[in-house]
Amino acid sequence: MSESGPGRQRVVIVGGGTAGWMTAAALIRKLPHACSVRLIESAEIGIVGVGEATLPHLRTFVEMLGIDEADFMRATHATFKLGIEFHDFGRIGDRYLHPFGSFGTDLKGVHFHHYWLRMRAEGRIDDLSAYSIANVMAAACRFAPPSADSDSMLSTYSYAYQFDATLFAPYLRDYAVARGVERTEGKVVDVAIHAQSGDVTALTMENGERIEGDLFVDCSGFRGLLIGQALGSQWEDWSHWLPCDRAVAMPTVSPEGPIEPFTRATAMSAGWRWRIPLQHRVGNGYVYSSSHISDEAAADALVAAVEGKAMAEPRLLRFRAGRRKRSWDRNVVSIGLASGFLEPLESTSIYLAQGAITQMIELFPAGGRIEDADRDEFNRMVDLEYDRIRDFLILHYHATTRDDSSFWNHVRTMTVPDSLEEKMELFRVAGRISKYTQGLFLEPSWLAVYIGQGIVPEGWDQRAGALDSAQLGPALDRLRANVAEAVREMPDHEAFIRRRNAQIEAAA
């Protein structure tokens, strides 16, 4: 079969960051018979390398590629992540974990949190987090892989990775190139567009080389070289809801003591600060709104707040919240930052790229012609994800009592999307969470953030009243004790990682 024979599509990916190499690796793994893959990257253009922290879905991606997790984690200095711990969001001094896992066990078909709400109203004082195994593991800095047995309490949590994003793309590059992806170094200086169809037909490189393709994937980051600059696909701006538009990042030396199996997000006067512990260092950054604080003041605030010794000077990143109105336009699919951006508060960037890649593979135009219906399907899915994540992020800012800075005053009092207003009200009435099964952030995630940010429902599921509180109290005590006991038997997070690394080294 020739490289560009009938039925074999020439895919050209522009941009060798995380999104670009994820796309290349996935295509060469899933559709090697249906396409040739070429990736253009330039060493002169830096990568943003977003997302040192990820979501559990990435495990499916790693598995799909057939990559050994232990090897991958060792190569990217990865640690396990059981959730994100939010500090000072609902009000200063508050702290809660958004865990990758559920709370308690449903009783008689009723979600656990309704019993908890009822007992709380009856005067029981305890934290919902005590019933989440991921929460208790995180607090104890312990880790063990979840169980596959769905009857076991140990199956009620999941995990993601915290890794060095600048090592993830090269890891995937080695994988993809070894399987036949052609890598081209250089800068694109011109984009040729077909006069009638409006499709991109070829790219001209700085050295004069002309690269033709059938399907182009724009992973060029915020520039949106193809989707934005060449095709003019419009951008929908969400900065009025998500005003953070800059970040300053600075790694520090790992402190003494255990490595936390979670990411920390601490609210600051004009945004929030991340802390992501890796095997060899800690990633830090301050995400802020440039309307509310200067770059210098933000950098100073970050330097003052980090715990360990700095390993580099603070580095500035600029972005804007929003997305393309059409992520797939003509024969250009945009993936990653070229498609849209939502700030890293819930570590969604890599997930969004992964979701778009999965959809593109499912809707891959194997026959050559791209149908409008397929583009619409793709854009529908991408939009759905963006809209829901947007609402979820806004919730973290809006559900607050903070009035200590102009930034918090703005986000606390701003008008939020109707879709979010209704979700919050539905929860406030009786602890119910609008249900969907496809997409990101299902019921336990919303629950964790609602409760964590101080939205306490006025009522609860009436069926939770059917059990006698004299029985329910001891049942809750037992559940707490079972969670605590299961976690006590787990190994220390860092010890677990070191042992796995040693096993790989011994095998090699």
Binding site: L31, H33, G109, E377, L426, A430, Y436, G459, G465, A466
Partner: protein
């Protein structure tokens, strides 16, 4: 307001058919402090959910919620087992096919079975799709065993439904609901609350029934719901059968496989038939049904269930499933006495998703049978599909993909079984399937089909299985 203060204290269920009794039992069991009463009204013969024998596998979930035991129902002659349905004359070539609640085929390497079998089919190296489902081979042979639960066995994890004997099933529900307070009589007037909801029902003997929540299980006329909201969404464009004739069950040999035979003007099953009156070719008669749904089945303090909420073609026996699913959802989302509009909206939203997707699934049979041999079928072939079904068809016919929908009652396997059974064939194989080696996959599919075909002979006839259970 705290949780207790807004709690519903009393529920009145209007209608004492299968739907009404099911609702009353489920509410009473889940809400022990609530007074659940039943208002027995003259039965509407067009309330088909109360009269049809079919169900879907979700019935087990509902029975668990109300404490009904399968074996007890079987022993009482109220239920037998149901693996699926044999379809005859529902395609251009007329070849029979089976819909069962099982996984079709097995994954091949990296790709799912569907794209692989699709490639084999395009190369004319595949058998009919149901040959790759273990439960379909049992259904075809008229045999039944319970799924073994062993993940390694082909008979490990299929699902099955129950075929009900409606009168006896209703008796079992009556027995279970005997402790619930009950009134009898026709409604002469409905008192409205200031907010537009129902304050009380007045009966002919002067009795006045108040409740915090009224549940309308009184059949397609929906006397309670239509008093507060007359809206109705008609589906006759997509579900053309508007007459249903119910015969006495012939009492023939019990068969764990239902039968659905397409006729010149509709279809028939073992104990009844449905047809489109505008194209009627037979004797006529039967109950008049008006396929469609109430756009908002829950308005203020009035919830409609069963035929009062949705009237749907008996194909695939979905009406009881929809009623049971709605009951469980209503309990999950039970609002306070104030019936907060957002709580009702969540209920109505999810109910709409579920109901319309079932409608799409049934409409598929009429719009894509491939038959044009009678005026009825020729007319159906010209009709355009509702939006959700159009999306499914566009994606499937062109490239074999099934888009995702929330609240699907029928999973991918069911959609595939029906689409392929009807003869709706994708023009292309999904891209991931192109990488599969057909020289390996096709013989593996043959081996699977041969292995499954040999399964039924290991089991006794269903009659004997049933006799043993009832002994």
């Amino acid at each position: 307001m705290t949780g207790e203060a807004r709690a519903i204290r009393s529920v009145c269920v209007a209608g004492a058919g299968i739907v009404g009794l099911s609702a009353a039992l489920a509410f009473a069991r889940a809400l022990p402090g609530v007074r659940v009463s039943i208002l027995e009204m003259p039965a509407d013969p067009a309330a088909l959910t109360d009269r049809l024998p079919g169900s879907l596998p979700t019935i087990h979930l509902f029975h668990a919620a109300i404490g009904l035991d399968e074996l007890e129902l079987v022993r009482a002659g109220a239920a037998t087992h149901l693996l699926g349905t044999r379809f005859e004359n529902w395609s251009a070539d007329g070849a029979p096919w089976y819909h069962v609640f099982d996984r079709y085929g097995m994954p091949a390497g990296d790709a799912d079975f569907h794209p692989v079998s699709q490639r084999a089919r395009l190369a004319e190296r595949a058998l009919r799709f149901h040959r790759y489902a273990a439960a379909a081979t049992l259904a075809e042979a008229g045999k039944f065993v319970h799924p073994s639960g062993d993940p390694a066995s082909p008979l490990g994890s299929f699902l099955y439904a129950l075929r009900l004997e409606p009168d006896r099933y209703r008796e079992r529900l009556e027995a279970a609901a005997s402790a619930l307070p009950r009134e009898r009589g026709a409604i002469t007037d409905i008192e409205r609350r200031a907010d537009g909801g129902i304050g009380a029902l007045l009966l002919e003997d002067g009795l006045r029934i108040e409740a915090d929540l009224f549940i309308d299980c009184a059949g397609p006329a929906a006397p309670l719901l239509s008093a507060v909201d007359p809206g109705f969404e008609q589906w006759d464009e997509w579900l053309p059968c508007d007459r249903v004739v119910l015969d006495r069950d012939a009492g023939e040999d019990p068969n764990p496989c239902d039968l659905a035979v397409a006729s010149d003007d509709g279809w028939r099953w073992r104990s009844g038939r449905a047809y489109c009156s505008a194209f009627a070719t037979g004797d006529g008669g039967g109950e008049i049904i008006r396929p469609g749904r109430r756009p908002e089945p829950w308005v203020r303090n009035v919830l409609a269930l069963g035929d009062a909420a949705v009237a749907i073609d008996p194909l695939h026996s979905t009406s009881l499933h929809l009623a049971q699913s709605a009951i469980l959802r209503a309990l999950e989302l039970l609002p306070g006495r104030d019936c907060h509009p957002l709580e009702l909206r969540e209920y109505n939203r999810r109910t709409e998703q579920e109901t319309c997707r079932v409608r799409d699934f049934l409409a598929l049979h009429y719009l894509r049978s491939g038959r044009r041999d009678t005026p009825f079928w020729a007319a159906m072939a010209e009709r355009s599909a509702p939006a959700g079904l159009s999306r499914t068809l566009e994606q499937f016919e062109r490239r074999g993909r099934l888009p995702f929908f929330e609240e699907e009652s029928f999973d991918r396997q069911s959609w595939l079984a029906v689409l392929l059974g009807l003869g709706v064939m994708p023009r292309e194989a999904e891209p991931v399937a192109a990488g599969v080696d057909l020289e390996q996959a096709a013989p593996a599919m043959d081996r699977l089909a041969a292995r499954l075909a040999a399964l039924p002979e290991r089991f006794p006839p269903y009659r004997e299985v049933l006799a043993k259970m009832r002994a």
